[in-house]
Structure formats: structure tokens, C-alpha cells
């Protein structure tokens, strides 16, 4: 018959072996019940202590306490181990495929013409220009007459006009404005210099549409009137705006052009950013792209609104927003803007 101490040692050996093979937390709990529980194997063995002599009882008792403590420690260690494994397993199971798409949200956008128009207005606002608007249905007077384009003037051919079916004294005085220039006169009639305005809006022309022509246009009119404004200010201002819109490295060029309501008149060109001046399809092989028309306000217009043309001079300019948007985004067909196809609009 083995001694109690031997039995304890054997039990310890057995318990450790069993602990090593415990695979999960549930099995660990039943191991503890089996070996260390109130009715467990260790208690069963230590019950025999009572029958031992006091000296031996003290020795074996100390041994039993050590076995209990060590097995408890081993249990704790094993438990931490198993918990970590379980966590790792759980995490492994729950790992996301991070490449899956996020849940879709709706994204709204502004029309590319609105976006470009705002950028243009911002460029002028930075130079102190205020935004002023006018009507889209306009009188012949403001659209033509006041801009020195009387009836039967050949320059009227430059703006094919849509007329409103309204007659007064045998004439049709009402039209869809063909440009934003009427706002020059409208504004000057009500204000005194210094004047510094930009006037955006839709304009309409009697025009067949093709990749470079659209009958509805968005224009911005620019007007500055003050003492001492010259073509040098016109050049400086428009060159600055061109660089703000198209990049600081842009080169700007000016050339003579005719508009009935300015004198002298000029067109502003920037060097082609597609080909950097080499010549390509965008710039029609010239290396330069026309971006706006401008000139010094005709002294007769100033006189007609009651300004002294000897004292005040001014410049005016007009930009086509669609054209600028086409250049910025590389759009080759102006008709895309107002066809409103989402496959187009969603690109901006």
C-alpha cells in the first residue's frame, strides 16, 4: 500500500497531465471540480490525514498544501492561456473583408457650369468686383440701342436674336438678351463711379447647335469705371483673373477686336495648356486660346448715362462660362452641358 505522500504525488502528476490536455474553458471548469473541488480528488486524499501520526500529519499536510497551491496556480495559468486562445479564435472569426464597399450614401453636386461660374465670380470678387444681376428677358434698348447698336446696324448680325412676340408701335421691343452687356447700362443708370461689378446670367441666341455652338449661354459681364482707368488696368485685371482661373504660369496675350460698345476693343488669349503653345486641336493649332472679349467703355455710353467722359474712363469685358468650363475640364462638346445626362454631370 503506497504512503499518503506517494498518493499525493501521483495525484499531482495525474492532475497536471489532465490539465495539459484540457482544450477549452468548459473542460477546464470540470477539471477544477474533479481535482480541486469540495468533493474533488485532492480533498478525498487529504481526508486520510486525520489517521496519521501528528509528525507525519504535519509533513504530509504541508505537502498537500503545496500540491493544492501549485495546481491552483497551474489552473490559473492554463485559464489565461485558454482565454487568449478563445479571444484569438473569436477575432479570427470576426475579421472583416475591409475591401468590401461602404454602405452607399447619396452625393449631390452642382452643375459644372454653376461650379465654374462661382470660381469666375470668386476670382473677380478677390479684386473687389461686386455681383449684380439683370433680367433675361430684356428690352431692345438695353440689349442693343444703348450699346450703340441701333436698328438696322450690321453689328446686330453678331448676335442672332430671339424676339418676344410682343409689339408696340409696330416694333418688337422685347427679346431674350443675347449677352449680359445690358447690365452695364442698367447699373450705370443707377450708380455713380467708382464702379466695379461683375454681372452673370444666361443669354440666348438664335443659333443651330453643334459641338462648339449652343443657343443658351452663361456669360459674365465685367465693368469698371473710375477716374484714370486705362487699357493698362484692363490688361492687368484680366491677366490676373486668367491666371487665377487657369494657373499662375499662364501667359496672356491681347489683340484688337471689334465690339460696338467699346473703343478700343480687345480679345484676351491665354497660351494653350494642352500643348503649351505648340499647337493642337484645342487651340486650333495656334497655341493660343481666346477666353474673353473686352475693351474700353465707349465714351458715348458714358455720356449717355450722364458721366463726364473726359473725367471718367472704364473697361468692360465678357466671358463665356461654358467655354471656360470646356477648357478646364477638357470637354469637347458644348451640348453636353444642357443635355443633363447624369453620366456627364456626375463627373464634376
Amino acid at each position: 500500500m503506497p504512503s499518503l505522500a506517494e498518493t499525493l504525488r501521483e495525484l499531482e502528476e495525474e492532475a497536471r497531465t489532465a490539465l495539459a490536455s484540457v482544450a477549452d474553458l468548459e473542460a477546464l471548469d470540470s477539471w477544477r471540480t474533479t481535482y480541486l473541488g469540495r468533493r474533488g480528488r485532492l480533498r478525498e486524499v487529504t481526508r486520510g490525514l486525520a489517521s496519521l501520526a501528528p509528525e507525519e500529519r504535519r509533513q504530509v499536510g504541508a505537502l498537500a498544501n503545496r500540491v493544492l497551491e501549485e495546481l491552483e496556480a497551474a489552473f490559473g495559468e492554463r485559464r489565461r492561456q485558454l482565454e487568449q486562445e478563445a479571444l484569438a479564435r473569436k477575432l479570427a472569426e470576426a475579421a472583416l473583408d475591409v475591401s468590401l464597399p461602404g454602405r452607399p450614401l447619396l452625393r449631390g453636386r452642382l452643375h459644372p457650369v454653376t461650379q465654374t461660374l462661382r470660381d469666375v465670380l470668386a476670382a473677380f470678387a478677390a479684386l473687389g468686383f461686386q455681383v449684380v444681376e439683370g433680367p433675361e428677358v430684356e428690352w431692345d434698348y438695353y440689349n442693343f440701342e444703348a450699346l450703340l447698336i441701333p436698328k438696322d446696324h450690321p453689328a446686330r448680325d453678331l448676335w442672332a436674336t430671339l424676339w418676344i412676340d410682343y409689339r408696340r408701335d409696330g416694333e418688337m421691343p422685347m427679346l431674350l438678351r443675347t449677352h449680359t452687356s445690358p447690365n452695364q447700362v442698367r447699373y450705370m443708370e443707377k450708380h455713380r463711379p467708382p464702379i466695379r461689378i461683375v454681372s452673370p446670367g444666361r443669354c440666348y441666341r438664335y443659333e443651330a447647335t453643334d459641338p462648339t455652338h449652343e443657343w443658351m449661354l452663361t456669360q459674365v459681364e465685367v465693368l469698371a469705371v473710375d477716374e484714370g482707368i486705362s487699357m493698362a488696368d484692363l490688361k492687368g485685371t484680366l491677366a490676373e483673373v486668367a491666371r487665377r482661373l487657369f494657373g499662375t504660369e499662364r501667359r496672356v496675350r491681347f489683340r484688337c477686336e471689334y465690339y460696338p460698345f467699346v473703343e478700343p476693343g480687345m480679345d484676351v488669349l491665354i497660351d494653350c495648356f494642352q500643348c503649351r503653345g505648340e499647337g493642337c486641336r484645342t487651340c486650333g493649332q495656334s497655341g493660343w486660346i481666346e477666353i474673353l472679349g473686352s475693351g474700353m467703355v465707349h465714351p458715348r455710353i458714358l455720356a449717355n448715362v450722364g458721366y463726364d467722359p473726359e473725367r471718367y474712363t472704364g473697361f468692360a469685358a465678357g466671358l463665356g462660362i461654358e467655354r471656360i468650363a470646356m477648357l478646364r475640364y477638357g470637354i469637347d462638346d458644348i451640348r453636353l452641358f444642357y443635355q443633363n445626362d447624369l453620366r456627364f454631370l456626375e463627373q464634376f
Partner: protein
């Protein structure tokens, strides 16, 4: 205006390459839109057929011996029109010609045809790329110089100029030559116009009466007798063709030639067809008609200027001649008209009759009254020289209101103020002189300038400043960016609101569109109620481009619907579009009232988890969500009340109210309207009148304090009649001073809720700024709310 360089160089030495010339002209305001080169052939020469022999082995072929300038070559030729003595285009081996079969350019190779070697080829127009004609060889004019390269004889570089309406003087080769001379520092050679007058005095042959001097400031007439009508010389024909005009006969060609050369339209009458040899310049009489040269019959109006003889109109002044006085093969005496007509009158007539000619396009721009005399002399000289005519002695010249040209006073100071730089006196004088201006210096610092007679566009000092600037070059002017003096800022609240609404709708998730404001009346009528259509009948365009673009919109609905349909068809998925733009409401004898509107349209299947259009289709509340979000971004609290409108489905229509005022509509599109626009499925539309909304949009945000004390949250469920709006219940709960919010979280009908009733459950948050509400306080407030709900909405507490 097409200007062949060979013609241009007759009046001015061209010292720079065509590309640079084009650039210089364009920068100076005469836009060269294109440089067209024709006839850049290599290894093709002018030859003359000197002998023809039959081909020994083929009946249809001949052996042609061609003199190519001292050297003779024999070629095999199959053309039916080849004949001895002809001048032809002879191509040597290596010439690149158009292959008649493939129509592609291909190099010519040495060939043996039916056993005979051919040393080259006599070319057809097609092979030279001049036309599609391949019926025979091209026969050159008799005076073609044998042996010279064809490119130097027929080749041409043509500048295509787009002349602006202020420069009718530049609608002429001489006018362009003057510009070239000024820009490149060379002299102009005027074309010769002297001739000998061997005929009787012109006054014995014709009389001219100008009855309408207000429309005809000057009328010059010449008579040339004994002309022989025939083709004009080939050099003239070639120039006319290169400039885009068709040769007709020598007399007519001379009038066209001088028009292109000097810019003055001319007309030649058959003198014998003019009754009593009289020319009367007068307004047309009521009911008069005239058959024009193009065969059309013009019904003349009393404000139209005509040229008449003693009996009837014989020409539409400044526009087109009449068939009754046309120069024909039997003509022997010509009356030449070189006149000045008033631009606006010519333009009105040409537009009214829809006949715009080279002549009318020049007259309408305002030609110089000094030009007719020069042009008449030049044309008579050519008729004497080229038609064998005898010029009558003198010219008839009716020029009643001859005025001295006014001088323009340009001060140095003004020049500097306009250009923003100084130009030296010497340079100004030199520049103006080069352009043909006379310029005197008057102390202390004024240029007294007289423009040349052809420059009718230069009238004021700033015009002269432009002349100086464009010749010295705009590049010389410095670019100056100065701090401006700023006018006081003015607010534009409607514009600001409009842009905020744009942003708000885009932020809510909708895509902006911009649609045309014109459509047809039926389309507009479909999206307007009878009352809307009657109170604001859309304005009509008098000259619409098409029936679809005839009426000015009074609503944004139609444009949005069209965009919706296009997109539902082109791509699957939810379509949520908005537009912010103006509608045009007519007013009596005034411009229409332009109202800023915003409108949105929503339809199509919503995206599922994967973004694919497979979830349920959008409904009323999806559309409402866009609108509510946008309004919330604007800081506007709106109410939605049941409404009726012909375009919307009854029961699914709401009026949008803010502070008790109607500002818009929201609803499901009526199926009948949806069908008319071919919308598949349900569509939902909303619109806001920004003018009505404007007074209710807070200008800015006001901070509301946040309570530091915890809230008490409770659910409150009530049963009300089915037609009581949930918003009314909520509004009443939130009216309690202790309630921070009440949020609807359940809507239930069916047992045990009685028939005709519904249950609404709200999550109510009680909160005070200065304390934590006690349980008793909350209970007391709840009882008060329930009592009010019972009293005002007939509600009962549920559960």
C-alpha cells in the same frame, strides 16, 4: 473675304511668310480664320499637245506628244477631249496624283500601256484634286506658259478673313493691302484707272435723277459703247474663282472684280434696255414688283430703294439687279452704276426680301461716298481694255450733299489716358501716316487727324487711339494691377438665397441640372393647372428656332421631367435632380416678372447595401426627405399640409408652408402627367417659390443654450382619428415648455386600435435649463399634455 496672296501682292510687297502675315493681321483686328493652300503639286508642269497618233494596239487610246518647255514627251492618253494645240497639265514620274479608282493620293510610276511606254500623264481635274471631274483631261487657258511648274501657275495661297462689320473697307483686296502695308512698313500700289474717252459726252447718252437723296448720297454713272460680250480673261476668272465668285461674262466679271478689288459694289445695265436711257433713283411704288437676276420676283415695299428707268424698276438698289435690264450676249452698250446707298435702308430691304448679296453686305456696313468715283473709273478702264469698249466722255456724278471730312482732335493726354502708356509723337505720326491718315500737330499737344476717305469707322479721338494701339501692338501696353477705389457693397438678398438653396439641395444629395427655358405650349400646359395657365399665359418667341423651343417657361416642372425621363432611360437607379432658375410671368406692357424658383424631382429604385438599384423605389417620403434636409440647412421650419393640384396625385400632395405662408408644393406626379412624359413608375416633384420663401429664411443662426441638467425620457402613445396629422400631435406635445422634443417612432393601425383610428408613439424628452425635472413634475406635465391632446385632437392615451 477670301484674299488670294497672288492678287494681294499686286498692290503690296509681301515681305513675310503667310503664317506671320495672318498673325499680324489678326492681332490688328482683321481676323484670318484660315490659310488655304491649293495646288501644291510636285513634278506637274504646263505642257502643250503638239502631236497625236493612234495607239498601235488600242483603238480608244492615243499617243500624245507633249511639249514641256523645250523637251518633248510621249504619253498614252485615253481622254476623248485631247486635241493638238491644247495647253495641259503634264505629270512626270513621281508626281503625287489622286487615283480615280481609290480617290486617294498615289505617286505616278513609269508604265507600259498596251505595249507602249508612257513617259508621264496628262491630268484630269480629279487627278489634280481640283474637282470630281474625270470625264476628260483638264484644258488650261491658251495663255498658260509652257514649261512652268503647274503650282506656280495654278497654285494659290488664300487668306480667309473674317471682317468685322465696322470695316467694310477691308472687304476688298486693296483694303487688306493697305493694312499689310501699314503693318509691315511698305507702300501700296493703287490699281491704274486712267483711260481715253473716245465716245460722245455721257450726258448725251444718259440722264440720272436721284429722287431719294436721303437714301442715295451719291450716284455715279458711266457709259461704255461697243463692248463685245464674251468670257473674261483667264487671270480674272481665276481670281474671281479663288475669291469664291463664279465668272459669268467679261462685263459682269469686271463689276465683280472691281468690287472685290476696291470694295465698291457696281452694277452694269444693258443701256438699250433702259427706257428713255433714264436712271431714276427712287423709293418703290405701292404694288411694284421686280424679277431679280436670280429669277425670284420681289414684291417691293414703299420704303425700299429702287433704280428705275423712265417706266419701271430695273434694279433693287444696292442688293441685286433686275432681269429686265441684264447684260446679255447681245449687249453692246453698258451703263455702269457706281453709287453710294445708305446702309440701314439696304440692310432692311435685303432682310425683308431675304436676299443678302455681296453688294448688300457691303452697303449695309456704310461705305464711303468718295469710293464710287474711283471704282467707276477703274471699271471703265477695264471695260475699255478687256471688252473692246469705247468710253463716253465724262461721268454722271450726282453728289448733292458733299461734305468736308471733319477733323478729329486727339490730345497726347487722351491718348495716354486711354492706352495707359506714352507713345512718342514721332511714332504716332508715322503710324497714322502709314494707315493713310493725315495728321497735323497743334500746340501744345494735339493731333489734328483726318482719316482717309475709305475709313468710315474712325470718328472720335478714341477711334484714333485704337488705330495707334493696334498698329504698334497691344502687347506694348503694360499690364497694371492697382488697388481700386471700391464702391460701397450692396446686398442682393435674392441672389444670395438662390445660391444658398442650390448648395442646400446639393448637400441634401440631389444633382443640379440646368434646362432650357423654352419649350412647346403643349408641354407647358401639361404641367400647369388650368388656373396657373390662365393667370400666367406663357410668353411666345416670335421667331422660334423650332416648335419645341417656342414658349417661355412659367414653371420648372417640364424641364425637370424631361431630364428625369432621359436619365431613367440611360442608366438604372435613383434619379434625384433639382434646378434653380427663373420662370417668366408676363406683365402688361412690361418685361415679364422673373421669379427665382427651385424644384426637385425624384424617381427610380433606391440603392441596396451594395449600391445597386435593387432596393424599393423612391416614394413620397424620400422626396420629402430631400426637401426637408435642404430646408433644415437653410434654417427654415416648414409644415406640410394636404393639398390638391391638377398635376399631382390627390392624397399624395402637400402644400409647403412656412410661418403659415404657402411657399411651395410637394407631391406625387399625377399618373396622367407621368404617362404624357413617358415616365416609368412613380415620380415625386417639389418646388419652392424663392420670392415667397425669402422673408422666412433666417439671415443667420442664433445660439440656443444647452441645458447642463439631464433630461427625462419617456414614451407617449396616443390613439387619434386616422385623419389627424401626426405633425399636429407632435406640435401640441412640443408646445409644452418642459418638452425639448417629441419624436415619432411608431405609427400603427389595426387591432386592437379601433377602425378609423391610428396609434402614434412618441419618444418625449423633458428637459429644463435650470434644473433636473422631478418625477412628479414630469408626471404633472404629461397629464397636462394628454388632457390637451384629448381636448384639442380627440386623442386618447393608449395602453
Amino acid at each position: 473675304m477670301r484674299v488670294p496672296l497672288s492678287w494681294l501682292s499686286e498692290y503690296v510687297d509681301i515681305t513675310i511668310q503667310p503664317e506671320e502675315l495672318a498673325q499680324r493681321l489678326t492681332d490688328a483686328g482683321l481676323e484670318v480664320a484660315d490659310i488655304v493652300r491649293t495646288g501644291d503639286w510636285q513634278n506637274v508642269f504646263v505642257g502643250q499637245v503638239v502631236e497625236l497618233r493612234p495607239h498601235p494596239n488600242a483603238d480608244r487610246l492615243t499617243l500624245a506628244t507633249v511639249d514641256v518647255g523645250g523637251e518633248r514627251q510621249t504619253v498614252v492618253c485615253g481622254a476623248p477631249n485631247v486635241a493638238v494645240g491644247q495647253k495641259v497639265a503634264f505629270a512626270r514620274e513621281g508626281a503625287v496624283l489622286v487615283d480615280p479608282r481609290t480617290r486617294q493620293p498615289a505617286p505616278l510610276r513609269r508604265a507600259v500601256i498596251r505595249g507602249v511606254e508612257s513617259a508621264g500623264m496628262i491630268c484630269s481635274e480629279l487627278e489634280l484634286g481640283l474637282s470630281d471631274d474625270h470625264t476628260g483631261i483638264m484644258v488650261l487657258p491658251e495663255d498658260a506658259p509652257v514649261g512652268v511648274p503647274l503650282s506656280s501657275y495654278l497654285g494659290e495661297t488664300v487668306l480667309e478673313l473674317e471682317i468685322r462689320p465696322n470695316r467694310p473697307d477691308a472687304l476688298s483686296v486693296l483694303g487688306i493691302a493697305r493694312e499689310v502695308a501699314a503693318l509691315t512698313g511698305v507702300q501700296v500700289r493703287e490699281p491704274p484707272s486712267e483711260y481715253e474717252e473716245h465716245g460722245p459726252p455721257v450726258r448725251s447718252l444718259a440722264s440720272v435723277v436721284v429722287e431719294a437723296p436721303d437714301l442715295c448720297p451719291r450716284y455715279v454713272a458711266a457709259v461704255v459703247q461697243g463692248v463685245r460680250i464674251g468670257p473674261s480673261p483667264s487671270w480674272m476668272q481665276r481670281r474671281l474663282e479663288a475669291a469664291g465668285l463664279r465668272p459669268i461674262n467679261n462685263v459682269v466679271d469686271i463689276t465683280n472684280y472691281v468690287m472685290l478689288e476696291m470694295g465698291q459694289p457696281l452694277h452694269a445695265f444693258d443701256w438699250e434696255k433702259l427706257a428713255r436711257r433714264r436712271v431714276v433713283v427712287r423709293r418703290a411704288r405701292e404694288g411694284e414688283t421686280l424679277v431679280l437676276l436670280d429669277g425670284t420676283e420681289a414684291r417691293l415695299q414703299p420704303d425700299m430703294l429702287v433704280i428705275a428707268d423712265a417706266e419701271r424698276p430695273v434694279a433693287l438698289a444696292g442688293v441685286m439687279g433686275g432681269a429686265n435690264s441684264e447684260v446679255s450676249e447681245s449687249t453692246t452698250t453698258v451703263l455702269l452704276e457706281s453709287a453710294n446707298f445708305l446702309g440701314p435702308s439696304i440692310r432692311r430691304t435685303a432682310q425683308a426680301l431675304k436676299v443678302r448679296t455681296e453688294a448688300s453686305l457691303r452697303f449695309e456696313k456704310g461705305l464711303s461716298p468718295y469710293l464710287p468715283l474711283y471704282a467707276a473709273r477703274r471699271a471703265v478702264r477695264l471695260m475699255v481694255e478687256l471688252c473692246g469698249g469705247t468710253a463716253a466722255r465724262g461721268l454722271v456724278d450726282v453728289f448733292p450733299a458733299r461734305e468736308r471730312q471733319a477733323s478729329i482732335y486727339l490730345t497726347q493726354e487722351r491718348l495716354r489716358r486711354v492706352l495707359g502708356m506714352d507713345v512718342s509723337r514721332e511714332e504716332v505720326e508715322q503710324t497714322l501716316a502709314a494707315l493713310g491718315f493725315r495728321c497735323r500737330w497743334r500746340r501744345p499737344a494735339t493731333y489734328v487727324v483726318t482719316p482717309p476717305y475709305w475709313r468710315t469707322d474712325v470718328r472720335i479721338p478714341d477711334d484714333v487711339a485704337e488705330e495707334v494701339a493696334r498698329v504698334v501692338g497691344y502687347e506694348r501696353i503694360p499690364a497694371v494691377l492697382r488697388a481700386p477705389s471700391l464702391p460701397p457693397a450692396e446686398a442682393d438678398p435674392m441672389r444670395e438665397l438662390r445660391e444658398r438653396v442650390r448648395d442646400a439641395l446639393a448637400q441634401a444629395g440631389m444633382q443640379e441640372v440646368i434646362t432650357y427655358p423654352l419649350s412647346d405650349r403643349e408641354t407647358l400646359a401639361r404641367v400647369l393647372s388650368t388656373e396657373e395657365l390662365a393667370s400666367h399665359p406663357p410668353l411666345r418667341v416670335a421667331n422660334p428656332m423650332s416648335r419645341e423651343l417656342e414658349y417661355l417657361r412659367t414653371t420648372l416642372r417640364a424641364g425637370l421631367l424631361r431630364s428625369l425621363v432621359r436619365n431613367l432611360r440611360s442608366r438604372p437607379g435613383l434619379v434625384a435632380l433639382f434646378e434653380v432658375g427663373r420662370v417668366f410671368l408676363p406683365r402688361t406692357d412690361d418685361l415679364p416678372h422673373e421669379v427665382e424658383m427651385a424644384a426637385g424631382i425624384v424617381a427610380g429604385p433606391k440603392p441596396d447595401r451594395w449600391g445597386l438599384p435593387r432596393a424599393e423605389p423612391a416614394d413620397f417620403f424620400d422626396a420629402k426627405a430631400f426637401l426637408e434636409t435642404a430646408l433644415a440647412i437653410l434654417g427654415v421650419q416648414a409644415e406640410f399640409l394636404p393639398a390638391r393640384h391638377a398635376v399631382f396625385l390627390p392624397g399624395s400632395t402637400a402644400e409647403v408652408q412656412v410661418e403659415g405662408k404657402a411657399v411651395g408644393l410637394l407631391g406625387q406626379l399625377h399618373p396622367a402627367v407621368a404617362q404624357a412624359f413617358e415616365v416609368e413608375g412613380d415620380a415625386f416633384l417639389f418646388e419652392l417659390d424663392l420670392e415667397r420663401l425669402s422673408p422666412h429664411v433666417p439671415a443667420g443662426r442664433r445660439y440656443r443654450p444647452i441645458s447642463r441638467f439631464p433630461p427625462v425620457r419617456e414614451d407617449l402613445a396616443v390613439v387619434v382619428d386616422a385623419d389627424v396629422p401626426a405633425a399636429a400631435v407632435r406640435k401640441l406635445i412640443e408646445a409644452s415648455p418642459l418638452v425639448a422634443r417629441a419624436e415619432l417612432f411608431d405609427l400603427y393601425t389595426g387591432p386592437p386600435v379601433p377602425e378609423g383610428k391610428k396609434s402614434l408613439a412618441f419618444a418625449v424628452t423633458y428637459q429644463a435649463l435650470d434644473r433636473t425635472p422631478s418625477d412628479e413634475e414630469v408626471a404633472r406635465e404629461r397629464r397636462r399634455i394628454v388632457a390637451r391632446l384629448e381636448r384639442e385632437l380627440g386623442a386618447s392615451l393608449r395602453g
